[in-house]
Amino acid sequence: MRTRLLWLILGSLFALQLQAADFVVKAVKGTVEVRRGVTEEWRKVKIGDLLKPEDSMRTGAGAGATIEADKKKLTVPEMTILDISDVRQLTQEDFLLKLAMENILAVPPREKDELSIPSATVLHGTDMSKSDQPVFSDSKIGEMELKGARVLYDNAYYATAVLKSKETLRTHPELKLNLDARLTIATAFEKMKLTKEAIREYSVLSKENLPASMAKKVQMSLEKLKQGK
């Protein structure tokens, strides 16, 4: 157990090295909460509280907060969920790999020479594809996470902004039509000079029924990117 604990401590130190330092809450307005690590509860924060990378921060309606670390200050608007671990820069390689995480994480198809692990199933799971259960997804939470992604974008954390936006849209399919979030993704790619990815995002977006101003912006960005390609 001692080795285990040692490992956990070393692991945590290693993880901390990869990200920004802990944030300190500098200003709070309204209901601002933090969820520590993998716990379930949200607890109110006050000025001076320390936010660790594994923590998440949530602001309620009409609320807001300012957090700071290493002279970097972030303002979190109302109705936002922000994962502190996302407030960091990623190398382009790490970013692209994380982008492919969905595929990396996917259960691989069985290899042809792989041995079958026999199973004597006692309880069978329900075939969820045929389930008539209602979808419990909390779209509000999704929207708050997208706002958190926007905070990341506004503070030039483009890589984590894209990752958070994409993950949220994936886990909250009902938000697929959140055009602002998709535009954030496309422009973040553009900012990161990932032209091919940006063109792809803009192209998909241009086929949607966009408001006139957004359509114009998307079209201009597309042309600019294609010319510069």
């Binding site: 285990r4 790999l97 995480m101 020479d113 199973s119 004597a120 006692v122 309880l123 799971g125 886990t171």
Partner: protein, 659 residues
Amino acid sequence: MIIATFSVFGQHLTSTRGSALGAFTALSDDIASIDWNPAGLGSIRDWDVTTSLYSAFRRDVSSGGVSLYAAGSAKRFLDYHVVAGSYAPGLNLEFTVSTPFAFDSTGPKIDKEEHIIYREQYALGYGYQMTPTVGLGLSARYREQMITSRQVVFDQATGARIKTDDNTASAWNLDIGLLWKPNSEWSLGAVAKNLFRLTESELPEGVLPYGLRNVKTLRVGAAYHPSRTATFVLDFDTKAMGGFGSEWTVSDQWALRQGVWFGGSSTRFIAGLSAGLGFSYGPAKINLSYVHFLDQSSRTHPTLEKFLDRGVQDLGYNVFTPDQLSLSATIALGRTRDTWAKIEYVQILSEVYPSSYQVHAFRPLGKARVKNVSTKPIEARVAFFVDQYMDNPTETRSYYIEPNGEVDVPFTAIFNEAIRFVPSMVLRAADVFVKSSPAEEYDDKSQTRLIIRGRNDWDGDALSLRYFITPEDPDILRFTRNALSEKKDSLAGVARQLEKFRSARTLFNEFATRLTYVNDPKVSKDRVQFPSETLALRGGDCDDMTVCFSSLLASIGVSTAFIDVVPLQRPDEGHIYLMFDTEVSAKQANIISENPKRYVVRKNERGEETVWIPVETTAITEGFLNAWEQGAKEYFDEVEVGLGLVRGWVRLVDVLPGR
């Protein structure tokens, strides 16, 4: 006129096949190579035994019947070396030179005689196959000369009397040969005859003119095989003697031969013609040949002048060689066919872990480098066998190999059940064979050493850990059945989509009440308990607990995955835990937890995203929720924050229940 006549027909043309062809230097491949070209001995595969009979024909003398010419044997050793020896009682030339002597023109005549015997009865040969295409050879022939002079001697006491002088000489004559087969169509040979001479005794000066001539000569030959059925051969030497001929293979067993002989001090360019027949059946070969010389004058009426002028250099073929019929029989014993493929070396790629022995039926256990040592392309297959642990050898597919080419042939192994009961590590001899078409048996065999680990041994690879999972084990089934039966009431009210999650939680908590985590890395390193052992021992280390819980979940149809963490800088601090598939849709993840850091969303084989839960099995005593929380925290730190999965120091190894 002084006439010299043969009294014995003791000569031959060494190889019956060669004498039918008229040329054999580039084709020699049997014991007769001792004389024709010792490099040809390298073609002998194992034991060769031969014997030959001959009958010489002279028009002026009645036939001497059929006599044993020679018998010999050769043996290959250490793969590339061949030694041969022959005894040739028939290789014997005898001449009688008679000079009539008379006291006066009316008195009785007395013959003054020189009786000359040449023998080459013993010969030794050595062949060395340097490369598959190049052979070298050395032969030593023991030559004896016995010259008996009978002459009339006068003295005052007895008057005239006959005095007999016996003179003998012997020496070993050494030949060196070379044989080169650059491709399947051509063979080239060269032999230097009488290159060295190791003298035991010499003839006295007075009878030297009657002695054998030991002239150094170089003979070169070529053989051309334009097709499988035709062969053309040519020999030529520095004494302007030689021959050319052809061989036609008319069936698998029969061959026809004909040859033309030239030079050899004959008055005509073409000295003789020959024909022959060859028959082979399995390892046995029978050859018949007949040689007819066009110029019979010196052969039927040899004169002393010619004898003294030309002399005899080669006991086999000289100006006095008569027409002759030869028959030989050869049998190749031991390994009775050519080797086409050789195993250069064998490499075992991994040790055998009984827990995952079945994987070797699909993944190569080792590889053999096979070389084509023939002059033709071959198809080679490799077989592998371990006595006691395999019922039959496994055999690979065929691999095409060019002449002189090499190919690495990976081989697999199908072990039997006995391997599962190996208690501790053992070392076993494993046989590797190579067969090449159209070979009937194996061409070459090599033995290698195979390490078979004990049934609980583990190679440290999380991938191999899967093979310790035994969901069908009766102990596992009993455990899950009992645990779920005891909680059936509480499970009955669970929403359908949470069945797997709740069952897993129930099993884990039951698991926690009965088992204890034991951290003893010195004892447990590279050793994994089978789940039934962990249950029986009521505990285990991180690997044992992970495997056991994975087996329990697999037994109720829950997919699991090992999370294998090997920090780049500290591989010794690696650890393993697991996550399982709740089969709850990602859209409904909030019914599992509102904190996404507590679960992992993964796409299954059907493309559906489901919620997986990481569990630290070593936190067993703290109950399911704590084990989950700890597993989730580790996963978040290592995968989400540390980027271990994308950077490769965290690996997921899926354990999917059989379908």
